[in-house]
Every structure is written in structure tokens, then in C-alpha cells.
Amino acid sequence: MRYYLRKIVFYLLAGWIAVTLNFLLPRMVKGDPVQVILAKTQRLAPLPPSARHALELQFGQTHDPIVVQYWHYLQGLFTGDLGVSVTFYPSPVVDIISQALPWTLLLIGLSTVISYVVGLLLGSYIGWKRGSWLDSLVPISTFLSAIPYFWLALILVYIFGVNLQWFPVTGGYDNTITPGFSLEFIGSAIYYGLLPAFTIVLASVTSQVLAARNMMVSTMAEDYVTTARAKGLRPRRVFGSYAMRNALLPSVTGFAISLGFIVNGSVVTESVFSYPGVGYTLIQAVENDDYPLMQALFLIITLAVLGANFVADIVYGVIDPRTRSAE
């Protein structure tokens, strides 16, 4: 029980730190960011004075003491008021994010699950059959795991998109189809998502395989695996209930860490494919110095990753009976 409490406290704390960091960062920017933004946007379209005021609030250039500003900020968070985007003025930031989020969820969700499951099974199997030819795959996968996501994306786009023209190169769906829950649209979304997903899976699966293999090798040397064999148990049971069941444990936490890597990877991958997800929007925001949007995106991404980690930790507490009594 203490284990769960500790985890809840930790994640609340981390969440609070992320939120506060988000609050402090724009106030640490040198110079007058409001001016910078206004200068940029004046070129696009003139901004009404209310916008200027909103920006000033955002950047803490009101004359309220900082604690009051913080309080307003927190209030704004809870009511879902994250400010107004500069790039897409006057759309509120929340709208932009809620449009981009589903795409990223689809992409990341799919890629993470695939690379995790494939990596785990393949790695465990290689570890189980240690000493066989499969072990020589390991140096190759070391090479593969060092390949930068975006370069891999570029290569794949070149081969499959430009040369063979099997897959579309940009976008999340066919622009001529109206978005909605039609079969046509969903089909198009999946089609456009295949190549980006494949990139992410290819880049991250190798590190999963390596980690799973190493874990399996360590577990197999344990006494209880030897005992299981001595008991004359079926090989499948020894592999499953005795070896895998224990080797899996660190993988649950590894899942959370690998999620972090995949979030990183998706930012760049979306950029290469101009895939309309959260990462792509982040890059756009950065290019346009759209601080409100940037901040909100960072917050969303961080909270999502924190949430996933939290779930992973809770699951770990459930599957490893030792944690529940140990703490």
C-alpha cells in the first residue's frame, strides 16, 4: 500500500514541477518577448489590443506580484484556458492541440505497442536460445539502434515515397477527403500513418530486443529456473511462468522509459513527414516563436508521459508481489 502512495505522491510532485517550470520559463526569456511576437505577427495581420494584453499576461508583464500571476496561471490551467496561439491567431491553443493530439496518439500508440511487443518477444526468445546463431544479430542491432530516427525517416521516404511511390510522403490523410468517421477517411489515415509508424518501430525495436535479451540471459541463470528444469516441467512452462514472468518485470518500467524515447522520435518523425500531430505543431510553434502554443504543447506532452509512467509503475506494483510487501 505504501508503494502506491509513494508513487502517487511522486507523480503529483513531478506534475507540479512540470507545471511550474512551464510557468517560469517564459518569464526567464531575455528581452521583450511580447514585442518580438507582435513584430512577427504584425507582418501577418494586425493584432487587436486585447491580444497584446493577453500576451503580456502570458509573459508576466503585468504588474501583479509573481504569486498572483502564478495563481492566475493555475486557474487558467484548470479552466482549460491556455492562451491564444500566435501562429494560428485567433484560435485558442486548446483547439489547436485537440486537433493535433489524436493523430499523435494514433501514431505513437500504434508504434509503441508494436515495437514493444515485437521487441520483447524476439529479445526473450534470443536470450532463451542463447549461444545460437541469433546472438550474432546483436551487434547488428547495436548498429540499428544508433541510427537517428529522422535519417531513417528520410531514407524510408526516399525509397518508398519518392522512388517506389508506394506510400504518401506528407500529411496525415488525403486532403481531398473530408475528415470524419467515414471508412474512406479512416482508411486514408491508416495508409498515411504506415510509413511514419514503420520508421518509429524500426528505430526503437532494436533497443527493446537488446534489453529483453539481456534480461532473459540474467533470469535464466537464476536458481528457480534451474529448479524448474529439475522438476521436469514442460519447456514452455519453464520459459513462460518461470523465466519470462520474471524477466518481464524490468520491462514494464522499461516500457515507460522507451515511451519517452518514442515521444522524442515522434517529434522529429512527424516533422519529416509533415504529419499533423503534436510534434509537428511544436516545431511550427518554435519556428514562429509562438510561445503560448509551445508552452501548452510541452505541458501536454509532459503530463501525458508522466501519466504513462504512472500507469506503468502501478502495473509493476501489481505484477511483482515483492514490491507490495517490501516498502
Binding site: 537464476e222 536458481d223 524448474a228 529439475a230 521436469g232 516441467l233 512452462r237 511462468s241 520474471n246
Partner: protein, 285 residues
């Protein structure tokens, strides 16, 4: 001796590293049905390797390079243990020969209950028992070794060291094997618990009539409880015989050396638990 239960003949085990090491050299041992054969020797002398060879648990780079191991079934037929493979080997394991490992801290699967680990044995040996029957049988086994059957739902880390070792012994008895190999079953436990476990083993042996290959570095313990004792040094069996004969007329230098190394209370018969006692002329044990 009547027909031996287990006959190890000229067994040689090698670790096939770049510089091959012979862990067991040309060892021959006969164990009669129902007897306790003690195997003594210092760490690294090869006795554990021998134990693993008998139960066919050796993994590369270890390999059996010579000799044979024969096991006599109740119906009189003989099994070539080294020739078993696959399904036959699986069936043979635990049914005919079971094992109690050193330090049961790690020998139990940490993420599964005691009940499921005992039930696994029945399931995979096609005992044809229903779930309820398996649970009942598991409870019986635990009671036999003096553990509350409610502990079936416990996880290994919730049990003390002594309890874990008893669970191991209970599991070893599950299929009523005729030989149990015990590799340092009491070394990791304190002296009092050690005494209890030994008594338990003796009692069970009287009730279920199994033979024991008892491996330990504690020669004193073996002299007390074994029917016959063997001494190993650097892979070779340098001497074997009854405890009386070994004490009265040791043939090999090493045996004499081992016997001399015990501190004792009275100076004649060595006994267990004397490690922590100072010997006569004030020198430390």
C-alpha cells in the same frame, strides 16, 4: 550390498573452456535403496558438479565426457540416466530422482505462490489430478514438513529461510522419488534450524523410504547422519566407507586432514555445531 539404486561408474565431467577443467574425475559411487550417502569435500572439489550431473542439469560449457550413471526402477529394470532425452528425461526428473538445492532463497519462483509451484509438478507430470486434488495434495505435503497449509497462498519472500527450505523438501517429496539429491541443504541456515531440518529428513526417510545423496562440506555432520560417506578432493573420490571405518582407519591423507580439522568439545567424536566453541587449550575455533 543388494542391487544398488544408483550406480555411478567412472564419471568424468569437464568444463570446456579455452583451458578445459576436469571438475569430476573418474568417480564411481553406488547408493543402495534407502541409504544416506554423504559426500564431503571443500568448496570447488566438484561435489555440486557431480550432483548436477546425476540430475542431468549440467549446461554448456560443462559436459559429461565419460562414464555412466545407472538407476534401478522398482520393477528391477535399469535406466541409463545419461542416455535419456526429451520427454523421457522430463518424466524421469523429479519422479525418480529429485533435488533440494543449496540456499532455497532463490530456488523458488518469486512471483508465484507456493501452491502454484507445487501444482506445476503434478500438472506437468500428468498426474491426472483435478485442481482440488492438487491443492489437497499440496496441503498434505506442507503438513508433512511441518508448515501450516495456509501458507499455500504465500509468496516465497513472505517465508523465512527455514520455511523456504522445508517447502523445497516438500516439493522434492511430491512424486515419491526413490532418491533425493540434497546439495548443502542446511548450510545457509542457522544451527538450530539446521538440526530441525536434519531431523525432519530422517523422519521422512523412515516414513517414505527414499535414499539420499547428501552433499556438504561439513564432514562432521555427515559422520553423524550417513550410512556411508565419500570424500572428494579436486574432482576425485579419494575415499569412501562407513563413518565408523573412516574415523577409525582413514586411508587417505586428505581424510585424515579433514578429521583433524574439527574442533571438538571432548577431543574425540566430532559433532556439529561446535564451530563457535573454543577448544581446550584456549585456541580459537
Amino acid at each position: 550390498m543388494t542391487e544398488p539404486l544408483l550406480s555411478i561408474r567412472n564419471l568424468t565431467v569437464e568444463y570446456q573452456t579455452a583451458d578445459p577443467v576436469q571438475a569430476v574425475r573418474d568417480v564411481s559411487i553406488d547408493i543402495a535403496p534407502g541409504e544416506i550417502f554423504g559426500l564431503a569435500g571443500e568448496s570447488g572439489c566438484g561435489k555440486s558438479t557431480l550432483a548436477y550431473a546425476v540430475t542431468r542439469l549440467l549446461e554448456p560449457p560443462a559436459a559429461i565426457t565419460g562414464g555412466s550413471i545407472g538407476f534401478r526402477r522398482p520393477d528391477g529394470s535399469s535406466v541409463d540416466v545419461l542416455g535419456l532425452d526429451g520427454r523421457e528425461l522430463r518424466a524421469f526428473r523429479w519422479q525418480e530422482i529429485s533435488m533440494v538445492f543449496q540456499g532455497a532463497m532463490n530456488a523458488l519462483n518469486p512471483v508465484r505462490t507456493v501452491r502454484s509451484q507445487i501444482a506445476d509438478i503434478f500438472i506437468d507430470h500428468d498426474a491426472g489430478m483435478s485442481r482440488a486434488q492438487r491443492t489437497r495434495r499440496a496441503a498434505e505435503l506442507l503438513k508433512t514438513v511441518g508448515i501450516d497449509p495456509r501458507r499455500l497462498s504465500s509468496y516465497p519472500h513472505e517465508l523465512s529461510g527455514g520455511m523456504r527450505q522445508r517447502v523445497m523438501i516438500a516439493m522434492a517429496l511430491a512424486l515419491r522419488p526413490r532418491l533425493i539429491v540434497m546439495d548443502e541443504p542446511t548450510t545457509a541456515l542457522d544451527v538450530v534450524v539446521q538440526r530441525n531440518i536434519i531431523e525432519e529428513i530422517n523422519r521422512l526417510r523412515a516414513e517414505f523410504c527414499f535414499a539420499v545423496l547428501f552433499i556438504t562440506h561439513d564432514l562432521g555432520l555427515l559422520l553423524e547422519i550417513s550410512d556411508r560417506v565419500g570424500v572428494m578432493l579436486a574432482g576425485s573420490l579419494v575415499e569412501q566407507g562407513t563413518p565408523r571405518r573412516l574415523q577409525d582407519a582413514p586411508q587417505h591423507d586428505y581424510t585424515r586432514h579433514l578429521l583433524r580439522s574439527f574442533p571438538s568439545l571432548r577431543g574425540d567424536v566430532p559433532s556439529t555445531g561446535t564451530r563457535y566453541v573454543t577448544i581446550q587449550d584456549g585456541a580459537r575455533a
